[in-house]
Every structure is written in structure tokens, then in C-alpha cells.
Amino acid sequence: MNKILLIIQREYITRVRKKAFIIMTLAVPALFAAMFAVISLVANQKDQTMHAVYVIDHTGGDFKDKFKDEAYIKFSYPNESADAAKKSLKSDDDLVLDIPANLKDTAQLFAKKKTTLSLSDRIQSEMNDIATGASMLKAGIDTVKLHKIKSNIHVKASEITEKGENSTNMASTYALSFAGAILIYMSLFIYGAQVMRGVIEEKTNRIIEVIVSSVKPFQLMMGKIIGVGLVGLTQFVLWISLSAGISYIVGGNTSPTNSALHSFLHNLGSNAGYELLCFLFYWITGFLFYSALFAAVGSAVDSETETQQFMFPITLPLLFTYILSVSYLFTVPDSPLSVWLSIIPLSSPVAMMMRIPYNVPGWQLGLSMALMVIGFIFTTYIAARIYRVGILMYGKKASYKELVKWFFYKE
């Protein structure tokens, strides 16, 4: 037991000290911060220049005094021709709106500078409202009454649970579970491949025989898997805390525009804890499940280029689930295929994460988790039997038949 700890320690420390690890750990929150900065910058960059809009109305007064002034847009209705108004424009940011007599013709907006899309959109939608109102008035409909009838509808999604109605913002929950699924998918590959590369390194270095004359191959394999797994967990913890720290600092400076993030975090509420626990469970068991297989593959080959033939069947189910997760699992989370994908250990770490926000029945979650635990014990057992023989086989290209033979070797 003590020796496993030594191995875990070495695997962990040598990896955490690597430049690549430090760079990755800092780069991801930095990217996150940069993204965040850009978003809040964009949010803050609302058009703050003063626009004076001269409305030249050829319809005969339908639009006169109807446009609503805002802080940065002031409408005026001069009695002159469009050309004269154009000539008298003082500022570059001022505009002339030329409304034709027949509204079927295009209204035109003139300015010395290119007009921003948001500004012309705003004017267009307001013109439509005014024109509709004018038409209704002409048809004898009282627009004041109409406005009273028309209500402003917002949909608020609430789940009915045994404890009562639990209002949640589904978007936040989906986003979190989706991010979790992607993170599991990617890290199974990234860290699984690290385990595999570590095994190949020991084999090609020929240090393996020295090590296995001191410890059991199983201890070495588990030490490596756990060591790499802890590296992965360390990275997540650092990413999350660094990102949270950065967003807190950035958020503190520009608090009013960051209410989106705050409401996001707030809306997650109790669900976040549940999802985080599921994420950790599926990440750890998924990692143990797959990295044992990766270790077995590493033991069977002499170099990384030879791993292809064995990698394919391991990665295929994951890739399949990943591709399905966006297009299928998310839209029909309760179909039989979705349910089975989230129960079978090969695909369940990704598939179940996708289904988590849809209140998965307890028995499905329980079955999936139990199978996951049985699954990783099973793959670890198989992998260890292949590994103990494979690591001592040099220069022999292994086939599947060979692997089966290795599995049945006595010690």
C-alpha cells in the first residue's frame, strides 16, 4: 500500500511540475477571463453618441411627433425638403429620415457616416409600430384600448416536485450539464492518453523491469492511474477557482452589466450541487474505467504509433455518444436509446451528464452508477491481466489474439 502511495506521488509530482501543466492551468482561466472581458466590453459599448433624426414625412402627418425620444436619439420634424435637411446636417451622427408618401415605397435614412444596424433596426421597428397604429386608427380601432388588452408575456418555467413548485432557470442547468458532459468527454481522452503514454514511456525506457522487481505490476498500474487522475482533478479545481476568482474581480468592476452571470449562478441554486456531485462521480468512475483500458493498450505496444488498432474500439462508443449528445440526447432525453446509453458504462459518463437536468428517475441513476462501478472494476481487472504480461514483451507486435492469450496467462 505504501508503495502505491510512492508511485502516485511520483506520477503526480512529475506531471504537475511540467511546464505544459502550468501553462494549461493558467491559459484556460486566462482565456475565460479574456472572453468575459470581451463580453462585458461589448455589453458596455451601447451606442452612446447623440443622434438627431430629422423626420421628413411625406405621408401627411402619420408620423409627426410619434417617434419616442430616447437618451441618445432625438427626433425632430422640420418643415423642409429632404435635400435641404441633408444639406443642413450639422453633426456626422445626425440623420435624415425620408418617409415616402406611399409606405409601400422604401423609406430612406441619410447620414454622413454609415448608419449602424441597430440604429436603423430600431427606427424601422418603430416606424412599423406607428404605421400599424395609424392603420388601425383609420380602420376605427382604438389603439389605446388595444394597448391595454395586449399584455407583455414572459414564460417562467417551473418544475413540479414533491416539495412543491421549484422554479428554476432551465438554461443555466442545461448549460452546466452540457459543459460537464463535454468536459468528461475531453478529459477521458486527454488524461486516458496520458496514462497510456506513461505506460509506453516506462516500457520503451526499459525501466519497467526494475520497477516491477520492486512492486507488483498492478500496484504500478493503479498508482499511475490514480496519480494521473489526481492531476486531472487538480487541474479542474484550479480552473474553477481561478475562473471564479477572475470573474469575481471582473464582475466587481462592472457589476451592473454582469447581472447575467450573477443570475446564472443564482439560478443554478441547489441544482448546481447535485450536478457537480454527478459530474465528479462520472468523471472519476469514467476515468478509472477508460484509463485502465488505455493502460492495457499502452502495455501491448512499443510506441504510440502502434496504438491505433486498439484505440479505435475504445474511443468509438465515446465518440458516438458525444456526437449523439447534442443532436439527440438533448432533444429526446427520455427515449429508450437515451436511457440505455446513460446506463451502459461505455457511454454513460457522457450520456447521463446530458440527461441529468431532466430529472432522471432514481432507479436509472442508481443502475447507471452501480454499473459504472462494476464496469471500472471489471476493466481494471482485465487491463491488469493484460498489462502485467504486456509490459515485459518487447518488440513483439501484439494482436487481439495475443491479448486474449495474455489475459489467460497464469502469473
Binding site: R206, E209, S214, Y394, E411
Partner: protein, 302 residues
């Protein structure tokens, strides 16, 4: 010290060891000989508990071999290597700790060894920065750092230049003088004759010869002598107490003849035959070298 009894090891399709037994006495330098693929490495891997035998038993200092004995052994495999990216000092300490040494103790001993072999400046270096010979030296230190009772060396001198091979050989001899038992497998017959007290010869999974070198050589003495004399070549007839095996004319009026004693005669009879006729420069018993015994034994069985 090490008692190996009736070891059988089979891999799918072929037998690596069939019923091999041998005894290694405490304090011996024991040679494990055999052609490639004879089963030497399989036997070593069983002793070091990397693999287990199908049947048979091994006793280490009178106790049945178990996990606790691993820390009493040091193993330098033929296929050797170290972590390329890890600093030497740290790596040696790690390997010693896997053998049950504490960090402090490993550091202390390592400093002694590094000073002894002129490796002090290597501590912070990475393996990939060292030459092959330097790596071998480091690996040797890693093998003996935990002061094992039994050191197992698989082809220890391959990859060493003559200077370093000599240094390592002397270190092995010194450890042996201090009481360490050494088991080493090799193809180099000169080093066997020079170092070993006893050997075992394995061929095609079977033990074909074992015992102290002296005894083995004695059993291979077959009354052949080499005689060197001056003057012209003598014609030797049937009355001589020996038969001529081979005659060669040397330079400067020197003649050499290889003779085999007839039954009942001794080397003195040979001298008495030559002395009246010529002046004898040398009479020497021809004892087969381990190399000859090795080739003889192996080719007879093949």
C-alpha cells in the same frame, strides 16, 4: 542462501524452464550461463518475483520466497533504463524508496556512492543528458543502494566501456567481500572464470551442468599436457607413455607438442621420456576453459 527446487515454467507453446534446481551458497558469486533463449531471464524473473513458476519452490535464507524478500534483492536487468526526464538524484531516491528505504537514508547512501564513483555533479542532471556508460553506472548504483543480500545482474558488463566495466567489476567484488551474494547471468566466459565461484549451465530450459568452477574443471581434465622443447622435432614412437594429439613446429628451434597420457602414466613419466632426449622448456596441463566446456556441453545436447 538461495535454494531453487524443481522450477517449471511454461508459456503458451513452449517450456521456459523444466525442473530446474540449484543451490546458491551465501557469499558466492554464482554464474548463470546458457545460450540465448535457454531460460535464464525466465529464471531470474521468477527469483525476483516478477513472474511466478508453474510449479516448484524457492527458498530465500531458508524461508519460502515471498513479497518481503523483494527488498533484500537488487536486480539489474539486461534490458535496463531509467526515466529520461527525471533528475538522477530524485530518481535514485525514488527507486530506493520503492525498495523500502526512507528518504533520508537513501539520500545519505546516495551521496556516499556518488562520491565514490565520481558522480557528485550528476545529482541535478537528467538521464537524457548522460552518456550511455554514465547511465549504466547510475543504474548500477540504483541496484545496490538499498544494500541487498542478493544482487542479481543480467549481463552486467554489456554496454560498459573497458574502464567502466573494470570499475563496476571491482565494486561487485568489493560488495561480495562484504558478504553480498551475487548471481549473474552472462555470455562472457572470461568474466565467469575470473569472478565466479560456482555456475549453472542451462540449455533449452534444462539444467545441464552445475557446481563449483573448480570441480567442473576437474571433471573436464582429460590428461592432456602441452610440452615445449628445444632442438629439432623428435619422432615419438609407440613406446612413449603418451599419445601425440597435435605437433607444431615453433620458431627459434622451439617445438610444441600436445600429448594425452596413456592409462596409468603421469606427467612425471612424460618428463622422464623427454629429458634424456632434449631440453624441456615447459610442461603444462591443458585444462579446458569454461568457454570450451560451454560449447562442448551445449553442442553435444543440440
Amino acid at each position: 542462501m538461495l535454494s531453487i527446487r524443481n522450477i517449471v515454467k511454461q508459456y503458451a507453446g513452449h517450456t521456459a524452464l523444466s525442473d530446474v534446481s540449484l543451490e546458491v551458497e551465501s557469499g558466492q558469486i554464482f554464474g548463470l550461463l546458457g545460450p540465448n533463449g535457454a531460460g535464464k531471464t525466465s529464471l531470474i524473473r521468477i527469483i525476483t518475483q516478477i513472474t511466478a513458476p508453474d510449479s516448484g519452490e524457492i527458498f530465500f535464507n531458508g524461508q519460502k520466497l515471498d513479497q518481503s524478500h523483494i527488498e533484500r534483492m537488487g536486480y539489474l536487468p539486461e534490458e535496463r533504463g531509467l526515466y529520461k526526464k527525471m533528475e538522477i538524484g530524485e530518481q535514485m531516491i525514488y527507486l530506493a524508496r520503492l525498495k523500502g528505504l526512507s528518504r533520508d537514508e537513501a539520500t545519505k547512501r546516495l551521496k556516499v556512492w556518488f562520491a565514490k564513483l565520481g558522480m557528485e555533479t550528476w545529482w541535478k542532471m537528467k538521464i537524457e543528458e548522460l552518456s550511455k556508460g554514465m547511465q549504466q553506472k547510475a543504474q548500477f548504483v540504483a541496484t545496490v543502494l538499498h544494500e541487498p543480500d542478493l544482487i542479481i545482474l543480467d549481463e552486467p558488463f554489456s554496454g560498459f566501456d573497458p574502464v567502466n566495466a573494470e570499475i563496476i567489476k571491482n565494486e561487485i567484488l568489493e560488495l561480495n567481500r562484504k558478504g553480498t551474494t551475487i548471481l549473474f547471468s552472462t555470455h562472457q566466459m572470461e568474466s565467469v572464470e575470473e569472478l565466479c565461484d560456482a555456475i549453472v549451465l542451462i540449455n533449452k530450459s534444462k539444467k545441464i551442468l552445475d557446481g563449483p568452477i573448480k570441480d567442473i574443471k576437474n571433471t573436464y581434465r582429460n590428461d592432456v599436457y602441452l610440452v615445449e622443447y628445444e632442438g629439432t622435432q623428435l619422432s615419438i614412437n609407440g613406446a612413449a607413455p603418451f599419445e601425440v594429439v597435435e605437433e607444431t613446429a615453433g620458431d627459434d628451434n622451439l617445438q610444441t607438442v600436445k600429448v594425452k597420457l596413456k592409462a596409468g602414466s603421469t606427467s612425471n613419466d612424460v618428463l622422464q621420456y623427454f629429458i634424456p632426449k632434449t631440453r624441456v622448456n615447459m610442461l603444462q596441463e591443458v585444462i579446458p576453459s569454461m568457454n570450451e566446456i560451454f560449447i562442448d556441453k551445449v553442442s553435444k545436447i543440440a
